[in-house]
């Protein structure tokens, strides 16, 4: 991105290019958050309406009422921002921003397509999860600072729930990380390019199970129904945001919907191929696949002369397809969450904790062990059974990986052996250690 800006403005690695690039990336991500929230809230109303056999919003913005959220947003901005008397004023005011900042910052490391990412982070998976985990603070702070019992109860429930659901969530995320051997989300996504059989969810039965557990835990982790005990209307008024009104209230919802999207997008990258579709358009069409791996930023602007000279148009189009693909997959995930919300009754708090500790954690552990065993025993995956082709991304990745692996192997052998070779004492020791148990065993047998 910085290279691109430098190229267009004719600068040479200047601070200005970097800052402009950072601003552009930030604004783009902000659009995903804000426009996403607008869209999702409208979708939620429409879907809940249809599930309950009613129409949902119909008036504002044509037949489908798609401007309803915007109208509501305007109304919320115009509303009075009330701070209760008993509230801890400073914390009460800052709490919604903490939540929004956390779910916004998690987008930094989320790759929308190969190379379309705010900042390449090598441990992106952990980064996203870690930053998303900070969102719980906003709820706790809001709950405490409101000075209301309902808010405090909601916050306590949320804290307990989120902290316990992070355990199975982390275990599920480790499975794709283990299979791909990297925590880089771009690499994990690229490894699954090609037909949908290459997706990790179809890698083996255990990954399939893990994907389902991941989605369940993610739903609980972002406090969606049926796990939305923190804002259970029937018992806690509105939970942690009981005392909030106006714009601050809507910020909580923006945070909730954007974290819904981010866990769905993470699911699609980890298990459902990310930007690589069910049908590999970008790999089949030769024009589009001319880009490929390597340093993506530099390949797009090879041999720069004019403003757009050296553009790899195929790469650009393939990236646009990838971004659209990922956004659609995230949208599907969010829709499923809404579907679940309006179909299932809410659980009790003890049922939520039981579900996490007695079912999700053991199942995630089984999934992890099973997937490890599947890899270790080199059992067939879906793509190898059906025989779907793997494309360039994967081949490059495998080659790279094999090279790394062999390098590590050749180097690591002497480490394990040097102490024995050089040190005669150690050698003697190992020898005696080896012989002693055998003789003891024999003695025992006799």
């Amino acid at each position: 991105m910085a290279d691109f800006v430098d190229h267009i403005l004719g600068l040479n690695d200047s601070w200005f290019g970097h800052i402009v690039a950072a601003l552009v990336a930030a604004v783009l991500i902000l659009h995903v958050v804000a426009v996403g929230a607008l869209l999702f809230i409208w979708m939620e109303r429409k879907i809940s309406g249809r599930i309950q056999d009613r129409l949902g919003p119909t008036r504002v913005g044509g037949k489908y009422g798609w401007l309803q959220t915007l109208a509501d947003g305007l109304k919320l901005i115009a509303k009075e921002d009330v701070t209760p008397d008993l509230a801890d004023k400073f914390l009460f005011k800052i709490a919604p921003y903490v939540g929004l900042a956390a779910s916004y910052a998690a987008f930094i490391a989320l790759p929308f397509a190969d190379g379309v990412v705010g900042q390449h982070v090598n441990t992106a998976v952990f980064f996203v999860l870690a930053v998303l985990g900070l969102e719980v603070f906003s709820v706790i702070l809001a709950g405490y600072a409101s000075g209301s019992k309902w808010s405090l109860f909601g916050a306590m429930r949320e804290a307990a729930q989120v902290v316990s659901y992070e355990v199975p969530l982390g275990m599920c995320v480790v499975v794709p990380v283990m299979i791909c051997g990297t925590m880089n989300l771009t690499t994990i996504a690229n490894m699954q390019s090609g037909f949908f059989t290459n997706w990790l969810v179809f890698n083996d039965p255990f990954t399939f199970m893990t994907a389902i557990i991941y989605f369940t835990c993610a739903t609980a982790g972002v406090n969606r129904a049926p796990f939305d005990l923190a804002e259970a209307e029937s018992e806690l008024v509105a939970g942690f945001h009981t005392e909030y009104s106006g714009l601050r209230w809507s910020l909580f919802f923006m945070a909730e919907y954007s974290s819904m999207f981010i866990v769905s997008a993470l699911a699609s990258i980890l298990f459902f191929g990310g930007p690589h579709g069910p049908i590999p358009i970008t790999e089949i069409v030769p024009f589009l696949s001319s880009g490929g791996l390597g340093d993506p930023a530099k390949q797009a602007f090879t041999e720069s002369e004019g403003l757009l000279a050296g553009w790899d148009l195929g790469l650009i189009i393939s990236r646009i397809i990838g971004v659209t693909n990922l956004l659609l997959k995230g949208l599907v995930g969010v829709t499923i969450m809404m579907w679940i919300r309006w179909s299932f009754p809410r659980l009790r708090i003890d049922q939520v904790m039981t579900m996490c500790l007695k079912y999700c954690v053991p199942l995630a552990a089984i999934g992890f062990l099973g997937a490890t065993a599947w890899q270790a025993l080199d059992l067939p995956t879906a793509s190898s059974v059906i025989g779907t082709p793997r494309y360039k991304h994967h081949e490059l990745w495998t080659a790279d990986h094999n090279k790394d692996g062999s390098k590590e192997e050749t180097i690591s052998t002497p480490v394990l052996e040097t102490p024995h070779e050089d040190d005669t004492h150690a050698e003697a020791k190992t020898v005696t250690e080896n012989t002693v148990p055998v003789s003891v065993l024999r003695g025992g047998n006799q």
């Binding site: 982070v121 441990t123 870690a130 900070l134 719980v136 706790i140 902290v163 992070e166 040097t418 102490p419």
Partner: protein, 245 residues
């Protein structure tokens, strides 16, 4: 603009100053704040800035771990404790003045010693040319994991002596830490469990009697309250009726 340009040239230093100021500033917030919930909030920000410093020093994985385990796990636990014990009297607790004086003297002298030590060694205070330094995406997670299983990929270039002197890995500490965590899990659950018996009433029948007595009291109270409420409601209704008439 000029300031920005300078800041860009020294981007590492600028971010260092930003994060360090945040870490120390919010650390002071923890120290000076009287409200225990605010202390927790400042602690979150301070540790978050520390994670930023870790990223800046090139320790990406540890930084992410700091955010995930420390800020996301440990501090949530702490805040949990704060909220479970946050009764009116304990939210704001004053420190005795003599404590402040003593702590300031001891802490100040300790800080002096540590700073003297930090800047004393020439090797440590040697400035690095960081104007062009970029945080390369270091592939540290795999070597870290291998080191935890006892294989040191990164020290292979070293001479054999270094490998022999206990630098061959961290398998043993890793196992000890794992067992430690398990023990802690069980121990914490055991200690924090709700105690069903109160010491004063060991006898089962007496406890049952006590419970019955309490329940009776409560029901009586409830009945009284409902009586009062309905009575008042009735009278209020009557009053409105009469007004309407």
């Amino acid at each position: 603009m000029n300031l920005l340009a300078v800041a860009w040239e020294y981007w590492h230093q600028s971010f260092f100053i930003l994060f360090a100021a945040c870490a120390i500033g919010f650390g002071f917030g923890v120290l000076l704040s009287k409200n225990v919930v605010r202390m927790a909030f400042y602690l979150v920000l301070s540790l978050g800035s520390t994670a930023g410093l870790f990223f800046l020093a090139g320790a990406e994985f540890v930084g992410a771990m700091q955010l995930m385990i420390y800020v996301g796990g440990t501090l949530v636990l702490l805040i949990f404790g704060v909220m479970l014990t946050a009764q009116k009297d304990f939210i704001n607790m004053d420190t005795h003045t003599q404590d402040w004086i003593l702590a300031t003297i001891v802490g100040g002298s300790l800080l002096m010693v540590l700073l003297f030590a930090a800047f004393g060694a020439e090797d440590w205070s040697k400035p690095q040319d960081l104007t062009d330094a970029k945080i390369e995406s270091t592939k540290e997670a795999t070597p870290l994991g291998l080191a935890l299983t006892g294989i040191r990929v990164d020290t292979l270039g070293d001479s054999g002596d270094a490998v022999k002197q206990g630098k061959s890995g961290y398998l043993m500490p890793f196992i000890i830490v794992s067992v430690h965590l398990l023990v802690v899990l069980i121990g914490a659950a055991y200690m924090a469990r709700t105690k069903k018996l109160s010491r004063a009433t060991d006898d089962k029948s007496s406890r049952a009697k006590l419970m019955l007595f309490k329940m009776e009291q409560e029901t009586e109270q409830l009945e009284e309250e409902t009586y009062v409420v309905t009575h008042r409601g009735q009278s209020a209704l009557n009053r409105t009726d009469s007004q309407d008439e």
